[in-house]
Amino acid sequence: MQFDQILQYTLSGLSTGAIYALIGIGFSIIYNATGIINFAQGEFVMLGGLLTMSCLTVLKLPLWAAIPCAIAVSTLVGILFERLAIRPLRQPTPINLVIITIGGSILLRGLAMLVWGKDTHSVPPFSGDAPIAIGGATILPQHLWILAITLIIIFINKIYFYHTISGKAMRACSYNRRAAGLVGIDVKRMVLFSFIISSAMGAVAGIIVAPLTMTAYDVGVMLGLKGFCAAIIGGMSSGLSTVIGGLILGVLESLGAGLISSGYKDAIAFIILLLILFFRPQGLFGKADSERV
């Protein structure tokens, strides 16, 4: 009985954790390319979910068309955000940029509230909702979708950053922006790329989680903070450590909520965040000077 429960909590924790990991990687990619913590990251998660919902209900698109459409629109918002809010700054200081992303996040949330209202909306699961039994626990097909899509995205990410010249150029920017400019890398374009990748990944996270948790104009706040927490645990790496960070966070949160009290669910994430920041600010796995891409 007890074991089954723990298995159940762990499994559902893993799938929420995968979502946190995707959002966290979005944070890391932008941070590594620009040094900015993009607090608007969560809003792209919200946009992904709500836009999918609209594509399905208003445009009557089938799910397979609604999802790319929602990702494309969210990415477009990401591009506009970089163009209109980040790039025009001539001498950006980190604090300016952080405040701008917070402002952008409030703006996006406000606009979303005007468009979609304050109600919670649902998105249908990708392939039914017949539970699947694993050991003594049950999971939904959507959980499997989440895990599979997260894995695929992380794999593509890895290929992009390590095996394409454009990805290498982006890593180069994160190691030494000055030298990157000197070898002819257009650092500003790389910043734009980083916003494109992160907003698309955020949107994907929002889309795959929406069938499980429902979605609303303000889901981005909490999901964004949890993703940030995953990125911090992973030492702002856009690779495996942030994935593990997200999974640890998801599982601990789920176990804590199940075994102690669901009221503490969010508190657990933030206690972990604080502990990491106090004791291992370089991330759980990082050496003092960790590899960050």
Binding site: Y160, I165, S166, R171, Y175, L182, V183, V293
Partner: protein, 251 residues
């Protein structure tokens, strides 16, 4: 090839460069020398787009490039190296050079996302090209090491290899021999000559007089922000103004 005319740079009340003009012929190795504080590095920073000058113009192959940012200059085939080497520490030696070939790569983000097999074959082509530059600079055996773990002298060679991978027509080197031992400096002199033999114009700021006199075709001497002299190494060595600037006047 490269022409600077009337370059003046004022920092606050200090005139770091005062109306400096000279031109660099294609295929030459030109040394810029001068006592400390003469404005050599400032001049380099202006030419390579890191500072923007108070007055004057920089012309590269007939095109006015004053105020162009470094990445645009790199695309116009002008690159530089730094006195304190600037590498991508967390990437391997090979990857550092591959990134240098980035401007010659045609695949953008979308191409990478949509046409994976094609970009991977391009990656292979770039990898082979990068290996050639590592062979040229003699560090091919270190290809898989992390750039951050290289000893200083090898790091300098890597920086040069990366600069060459941009396929420049002109390379500016800021004190390439700084921090090298005499053995490494000899190797560097040979390397710089081989770079010129590829048809690449080289400009260097350097304190090591032996190196400068050995390899440079022409020398520009700066002192206190002004051009003091310009000529072949022999002319410079015999110039009374230069001797007095370096050694002080007799009177």
């Amino acid at each position: 090839m490269l022409e600077v005319s009337g370059i003046t740079q004022i920092f606050g009340g200090v005139t770091a460069l005062d109306n400096v003009s000279f031109s660099i012929a294609k295929g030459n190795i030109t040394g810029v020398i001068g006592p400390n504080g003469a404005g050599k590095t400032t001049l380099f920073n202006i030419i390579t787009g890191i500072y923007s000058q108070t007055a004057g113009t920089v012309t590269l192959e007939g095109k006015n490039v004053s105020g162009f940012p470094p990445e645009r200059l790199a695309r116009l085939a002008m690159v530089r190296t730094f006195q304190n080497i600037e590498l991508f520490g967390g990437m391997t030696v090979l990857e550092n050079v591959m990134v240098g070939m980035h401007t010659r790569s045609s695949s953008g983000l979308l191409a990478c996302a949509l046409k994976m097999p094609w970009t991977i074959s391009e990656e292979r082509r770039i990898r082979d090209g990068a290996m050639k530059w590592l062979e040229f600079t003699g560090i091919v055996d270190l290809a898989d090491h992390l750039a951050g773990s290289l000893p200083f002298g090898k790091g300098r060679l890597l920086e040069i290899a990366r600069a060459l991978a941009v396929e420049p027509r002109i390379v500016l080197m800021d004190e390439p021999a700084a921090g090298l031992n005499s053995q490494e400096t000899l190797g560097l002199a040979q390397l710089i000559k081989r770079i010129r033999d590829l048809g690449i114009t080289v400009v260097l700021v350097e304190h090591d007089m032996e190196l400068v006199m050995d390899i440079c075709d022409r020398i520009v001497v700066l002192n206190l922000g002004r051009k003091l002299a310009e000529g072949t190494p022999r002319e410079i060595q015999e110039s009374p103004e230069v001797i007095s600037a370096y050694l002080g006047d007799d009177d």
